[in-house]
């Protein structure tokens, strides 16, 4: 089954050749560019019925920020789609039209990684406080706890 | 003059009622706890709670109307204590009576709900507002079956005086069995009046904190709690006078013990109901009262009318 999905994916999207791996049964990791991301997502949902979004993981990889979308389907096969964007301008598209449940995961990326999510509706932020200093994203590697302490100390 | 003040303030007035209400609260809490497999409080717990609350700081919300906020518990307490004077306790005679006092008692027992409404409403808390609106909504649902249940017994006795009702059932000792249906209906309606589960909707802790009582604290809260407990005692005494007028021996000590047993049995039933059911929703409560309780109360009324017809013949 995993092989089948991988072969079909490569057939449909040539650029995936070499960017797709299967470390163990029921796990597929792949990398796509941001421009083709929604196409791959569409394809997986339509043809392979990947209807459940587990979560979105953010990663700080130095130059780039990467986001991994963990999708699964009945039967337990889990596909991890990694999308990378430059750190200076980390813009991604919201996937709320595909998964309503994605909203809170995307808010988390906004707060903790400073991602800019296009199409994310207005709403309460999650999970940081409303008075969190602007421009500080705690899960980025260059963020240190002292930055927050200093900032808060100045305010006090 | 002095004896009147004594009977109002001490026995069987306010002080006696307060002691009885602490006893009632203790019994209620202990039974509730034992039925739930807990140990429950020691006998002095209600008194200790009361004293502790008296010593706590009193906070009145700055938005609230302080006069209304403070007066509401007083009105409530005054009206339930007054109602108590018209209820025959262990003798067939109440402290005061006149023809029509049954209606006065019923209306006096409505005043606490209204004054809690006023107190809660003027405390301006959102939870209190929802709670008080709920308690008024609920009032219109339980009041009708409660009145019908109690009046069915009065109808059989052919009098509007509680004292006369008691005298009637002393003469006809077995007729109280006719009113058992009315007793059950009134007891359920009383749960609504006392805001006990399943009808504790106005103070549903998990939804609206404490409903109308949310903003009360310190002495005012202590007084409120006391009033609620007194209300429970008065309600139970009313039911026992109207529906359980048996075993009067004219030996005042024995009669007093029997009265206590009756009172505590009713409290036991209230605690039992509290233990075995979940809280209803306000719409379900109103449906229940109008769909089931009111028709049943009507049947009781018709039954009593029929019995009365037979008796006159």
């Amino acid at each position: 089954m995993e092989q089948n999905i991988m072969q079909n994916l490569v057939k449909e999207f040539n650029f995936l050749e070499g960017n797709i791996t299967q470390p163990r049964e029921r796990r597929i990791f792949l990398r796509v560019g941001l421009d083709k991301f929604t196409n791959v997502l569409d394809y997986l949902m339509k043809h392979f019925n990947f209807t459940h979004l587990c979560t979105i993981t953010g990663l700080d990889e130095g130059e780039n920020l990467s986001f991994i979308y963990h999708l699964t389907k009945e039967g337990g096969i889990l596909i991890n789609i990694k999308v990378s964007v430059p750190k200076e301008n980390p813009v991604i598209k919201s996937i709320i039209p595909y998964f309503a449940g994605a909203e809170i995961y995307e808010r988390e990326l906004v707060d903790l990684f400073g991602a800019k999510v296009e199409g994310l509706p207005q709403g309460n932020r999650y999970p940081l406080t409303d008075d969190w200093p602007v421009g500080q994203f705690p899960l980025r590697k260059d963020w240190k706890q002292e930055m927050l302490d200093k900032k808060a100390g100045e305010n006090a | 003059m002095f004896s009147a003040i004594f009977s109002m303030m001490i026995f069987p007035g306010f002080l006696f009622l307060a002691v009885l209400s602490f006893l009632g609260e203790f019994i209620d809490r202990k039974i509730y706890a034992r039925l739930q497999n807990r140990v429950g409080p020691p006998w002095f717990q209600p008194v200790a709670d009361f004293i502790k609350l008296l010593g706590k700081q009193e906070i009145i919300p700055s938005e609230a109307n302080p006069t209304m906020f403070k007066m509401a518990p007083l009105f409530a307490a005054a009206s339930v204590v007054t109602a108590f004077f018209y209820i025959p306790l262990w003798t067939p005679e109440a402290l005061y009576s006149f023809n029509g006092d049954i209606l006065v008692v019923l209306y006096l027992l409505t005043i606490p709900t209204l004054s809690f409404f006023i107190g809660g409403w003027y405390s301006t808390s959102l939870y209190a507002r929802i709670g008080t609106v709920r308690s008024l909504t609920q009032l219109f649902a339980y009041e009708v079956p409660l009145f019908m249940g109690i009046l069915s017994s009065a109808l059989l006795a052919n009098t509007w005086s509680l004292t006369k009702i008691a005298e009637f059932y002393v003469i006809h000792p077995w007729l109280w069995l006719m009113n058992l249906g009315g007793f059950v209906i009134s007891l359920i309606a009383l749960l609504g009046k006392l805001e006990k589960t399943p009808f504790d909707i106005p103070e549903a802790e998990t939804e609206i904190v404490a409903g109308g009582f949310t903003e009360y604290s310190g002495k005012l809260l202590a007084f409120l709690k006391l009033t609620l407990n007194i209300e429970m005692i008065v309600g139970a005494a009313l039911l026992s006078a109207v529906f359980l007028p048996f075993a009067l021996t004219y030996n005042s000590f024995l009669d007093f013990v029997i009265f206590l047993v009756k009172l505590l049995s009713i409290i036991f039933l209230i605690s039992l109901a509290r233990t075995i059911v979940a809280r209803l929703r306000i719409d379900q409560m109103i449906n229940f009262c109008w769909k089931y309780l009111v028709p049943l109360a009507m049947m009781q009324l018709l039954l009593n009318l029929a019995v009365k017809g037979v008796m006159i013949k």
Binding site: H52, C54, E103 | -
Partner: protein
């Protein structure tokens, strides 16, 4: 009922009797009817994910266990599984069985806890008292097996830390019999008690399509007919070798969720018995390297509340590059808004409770180990003591006299 056209908002939380944890729901009401709900999470954000990056794998394991007080084993197992997958460790079968055993015991304790909380939310405190009393049985067993009532600390990278003896097996089996009998009583109660059914059925409806749409997990999804259970879909530990049923229901309301959880309790007893019966012999742990090779893994685990997801990325050192935790409540909380729309305020607590929320799990991340903000706010015990004496003497309380009296009294003895 109340046709007042006045709309108002009431806050449910961050401090509210219906929620035992700090989360805020702002409810727009018209009379008793809920027009809309705004959810604000994050009050319990402790920065565990960031803290994990600064600690070693073994330290992280203990830290991760403290993500949640109830499903602690779920989180630690889920994390450990990911690390073991990256390191390529073959965990001994006996260890896997013990993990499964503790996992199911944890499910039992969590579901019993939920049942009590649900009872409390609808004003049925007797149910709370009964279930929590019975919950003590399983808590005792957990303490007996692992040494702790919560945060069991049974896992280690490459296996488990404690073996179980035959006496413990006998005791656990006895406890299971007792619990099964009690659970049967609760099922009977759930199917028979009118006010319970009245309050639970038709409330908090989440249709099959909506459950898929909002990515609901765990009993919440299963009560809507979605057959989603990681134990079956993506077997971990020893679930592949154990027979059990995935409980689903088509009721899609809170009542269905209650029934699903009750039936899952029965399944849990079955699994525990099988684990104990088939417990293989052998070692309980393999040696794990201190430095985990470069790699990434995604681990899933069926916690009592639903699917728990951990993503771990390693960089070849003894500290992980990234740890991501997605607790089941975060997946379910988004469906709550939908479930509450146009319902009554009275249903709010039970609908929230019905997903079995665990907000501590949900919020993790940015810890402040040493709060340096405003030195004057950090007080030593002595300073606090002095301050209180100063505060009171300013208001006329003379401690000198009191102290003297105390000394006199003490000198008598």
């Amino acid at each position: 009922m109340h046709n007042s056209s006045e709309e108002f908002k009431i806050p449910i939380g961050p401090q509210h009797p219906a929620l035992k944890e700090p989360e805020s729901f702002s409810v727009a009401l018209r009379g008793e009817k809920i027009l809309g709900v705004e959810i604000r999470l994050g009050y319990n954000h402790r920065g565990i994910e960031k803290a994990c990056e600064e600690r070693t794998y073994i330290q992280d394991m203990y830290l991760i266990e403290r993500v949640c007080g109830i499903c602690s084993h779920s989180h630690s197992t889920c994390f450990v599984q990911a690390v073991e997958e990256i390191a390529g460790l073959a965990v001994p079968r006996r260890a896997l069985y013990i993990r499964t055993l503790v996992a199911e015991l944890e499910r039992i304790h969590s579901h019993l806890l939920w049942l009590g909380v649900a009872g409390h939310e609808i004003g049925f405190d007797t149910l709370l008292m009964y279930t929590w009393r019975d919950r003590e049985i399983v808590m005792d067993i957990l303490a007996e097996l692992t040494g702790n009532r919560v945060n069991y600390g049974i896992n280690t990278i490459g296996g488990v830390r404690r073996d179980i003896s035959s006496i413990q097996i006998q005791e656990t089996l006895k406890a299971m019999d007792l619990l099964e009998e009690r659970t049967k009583y609760y099922i009977e109660l759930g199917l028979g008690e009118t006010t319970l059914i009245k309050r639970l059925s038709g409330v908090g409806v989440l249709s099959y399509d909506d459950a898929l749409h909002f990515d609901a997990v765990g009993p919440t999804a299963r009560a809507s007919g979605v057959k989603r259970d990681v134990r079956k879909d993506d077997p971990y530990a020893s679930y592949g070798e154990i027979s059990f049923d995935v409980i689903t229901d088509t009721g899609a309301d809170v009542y269905a969720r209650t029934i699903v959880r009750l039936k899952e309790l029965m399944e849990a007893y079955k699994i525990v018995r099988q684990c104990l019966k088939n417990l293989p012999d052998g070692p309980i742990t393999v040696r794990a390297p201190r430095k985990i090779p470069v790699g990434e893994a995604l681990s899933r685990y069926e916690a009592p509340r639903g699917e728990d997801v951990h993503y771990v990325k390693s960089n070849g050192t003894e500290r992980p590059e990234r740890v991501k935790v997605r607790a089941p409540t975060l997946a379910n909380v988004q469906a709550v808004k939908h479930m509450l729309k146009d319902r009554f305020l009275a249903d709010m607590p039970i609908v929230i409770a019905a997903i079995d929320p665990c907000f501590s799990c949900t919020d993790r991340l940015v810890s402040l180990e040493q709060d340096n903000r405003g030195q004057e706010n950090l007080m030593t015990w002595q300073a606090l003591h002095d301050y209180s004496i100063k505060w009171h003497s300013k208001r006329g309380v003379d401690f000198g006299k009191l102290n003297k009296k105390l000394q006199e009294r003490l000198s008598k003895y």
